[in-house]
Symmetry: C2
Subunit: 332 residues, 2 copies
Amino acid sequence: MATIKEVATAAGVSPSTVSRILANDTWGKEETRKRVLNAIKELQYNPNALARQFRTQETKTIIVIIPDLSNTIFHEITLGIEAEADAHNYKVLIVDTKRQLSLESYYLNAIQQHEYDGVISMDANIPRKLLEQFATKYPLVVALMNIPGSQIPTVRIDNIAATAAAMKHLIRLGHKSIAHITSSSDLFAYKERLDTYREELIKNNLSVNPQLIKAGEATISGGFEMANQLIASGEKFTAIFAAGDTMAMGAISALRQKGIRVPEDVAVVGFDDLEVSSYYNPPLTTIRQPKYKIGQYAFSKLLSIMKEEKVTETVDILPYELVIRESCGHYL
Amino acid sequence: MATIKEVATAAGVSPSTVSRILANDTWGKEETRKRVLNAIKELQYNPNALARQFRTQETKTIIVIIPDLSNTIFHEITLGIEAEADAHNYKVLIVDTKRQLSLESYYLNAIQQHEYDGVISMDANIPRKLLEQFATKYPLVVALMNIPGSQIPTVRIDNIAATAAAMKHLIRLGHKSIAHITSSSDLFAYKERLDTYREELIKNNLSVNPQLIKAGEATISGGFEMANQLIASGEKFTAIFAAGDTMAMGAISALRQKGIRVPEDVAVVGFDDLEVSSYYNPPLTTIRQPKYKIGQYAFSKLLSIMKEEKVTETVDILPYELVIRESCGHYL
DNA sequence: TTGTACGCGTTATCAG
DNA sequence: CTGATAACGCGTACAA
C-alpha cells in the first residue's frame, strides 16, 4: 500500500503538497495538481484513514446506539440519521446493545478512546447522573426517548399526548375494559404511556384494573405472552392498548390462537407504526412516530454540538399521528 | 485526556512500562504494577485507540455489509456474528447498503484505508472479478449468498435443495398452478430459487406459466404489489411460492384485501423463517435458514483468514428445514 | 525488570 | 505556491 511519501516522490513534490491537494480541490498550480493526481492513480494510493484520524483527532464518525435491532422502528430512525450524516460527510456506525447495560456503557466509553466523534442513543439506560456527566463532556443526543427533567438534548414526540389520543379513540368507541401491555424495561417512554393510560381511564370514570396491566419483553413474542397472561387471568377486556407495535402483533396472534377475534371481540391499538403494521392481519391502528424526521433532527442537533455551537432548544418535540386501521374495529 | 506519558510521569516510570503493563497482565514487578495501575486510575487514563490502531495497523474491528436492515433475517444472522466476534475480542460494525452498489463499493474500499480488518458481506453484488480480486487481498467472507463457481469463502444453505423441498410440499398437497414471486435484484440465491421452481414444475409434469412469475422488491410492500399483479393478470393460481418471508407476508396481505383466503383459496410458502413469520396470520409455512449459526460460522471463517490460516473448506453448507405452518393449509 | 529511542502516515505551522 | 519540520500517542527492538 503506497503512502503519501511515495506519491510525493513519484510526483516530484513534497508530502505536504500531496496532502494539501487531497484536502482541497482548488489548491496548487494546475500543473502540479495534475502530476500529483497522476501519481496517485499510478500508485493506487489510498490515504491511511487511521493515520489521518490519529493526526486530526477526528473520526468523522458517529455511533447510533440501539437497544434491539429486531424492532424495525430503530432502523427507520437510523435511515433518517444516515441521510443527514451522509450530507455532512459523516459515517454512521450502528451498535446493538441487546438491552444490556454493560454494552451501553462499553460503547459510551469508546468515545473516550477517540473512536467516534459523537453519539445518538435510543437506549439511554445508564443512571441519569452518569449520562448527564457524559453529555457535558461529549456530544450526545438522545432520540425517541425522554430523559425527564434533564438538559440532555432530545428529539422525540409527545408521548403523553399521543397515548391520550390512542386511549381517547378506544374510549370513544365504547370500550370500558381496556388492557395495557408494555415493556418491563424502565424506559421512561413506557412509564409515560402507562401513566397516561391510567389517567385517561380515570378521567373518563373508568376503573383501573391492575390485572389488566402486563409488562414483559417489548417484542412480538413478549406481546404474545402478555396477551396469553391476560386471557389466563380470566379478567374481562374488550380492548388492548399495546405500548409498541411489536407487542400488539404478538398479542393479536395470541388472541387469534384462542379463537378470540380482532377487532370483533377485542380491539387492539399499537404504538410506533412500523412498516409491517399496515400489512398485518388485521392492519394495526397505531400511533405514527415521524421516524425518519426524528433521525434527521437528531443528527442535525448532534452536528451543532460537535461543532460546538450552542444548542438553544434542548428538546425537540415532533408531531405524532393517530393512524386508524382495522385492528380497532372502526374507521372514522 | 491523559496520555500514557503523563501516567508514566505520575507513576515514576517510563511510558514503555505503562504500555507493557497495559498489554500484559503479568508483566512487571508487583510493586511497579501497583504504582502504574494507581496512576491510571488517578488520572482517569484511557488509551487512545486511534493511536494504538495506527501503531499496530489493526483495528480489531470487522464490518458486516447488509443490503436491507428492515429485513430482520440479516439482523438474526448478525447476532450470530456478534456472539462469535465478542468471544474473540472483535468489534462488529453494521453497515446498510440499502441495496446500492455504490455504497457497497464504498465500504469495501474503506478496508484499504485500514478502517477495518475484515468483511462479512451479505450483499456481494459488485462484479465477480472485482470481488475475487478483493478477496485475494483482504479477508472476506460471504454469508447467506452464493457466488457461483468461485473460490470466495461462503457460508450458506443449499438453496436448490431447500427450494425443491418447498415446491415438493406444495405439489404433494395437490397444487398444479403455483405462482412465484421473487426479487428483481440479481442476487444469485434468487436465481437459484427461480430455476429450481421451474425445474420442480417440469419434473412433475406441470407447465411453467411465465405470467405466474413476478419479480419486484424483496420487501413486504414488494410482495404486496406482486401479488396484486398476479391477481390482476387474471391467471389462475392456487399457491404462491415466495422467495422470502417479507414478500410472502406482503402477498398474504394483498390476497386478503381482495377477499382471497389464505390458505383456503391460495396457499403461500415463504423462505427464511423470520421471527414474525410464526406470528403472522396465518402463520407462514417456510424454509428455515439456520441464521444464528450462519453468522457464527461466517465469523470463525473470517477469523481464520485474518490470522492467515489456510481455509480448507471454502464453502460451508448448513442444513435448512421446512417448517410447516398454516399458510399452506395442511399439517403433515 | 525496566528505560531509551525510534517510527508508524498524516497534517499543521512556519518559513521561503 | 511550495517545502521542511515537528508532532499526534503508542508499541517494540534494543540496550542497560
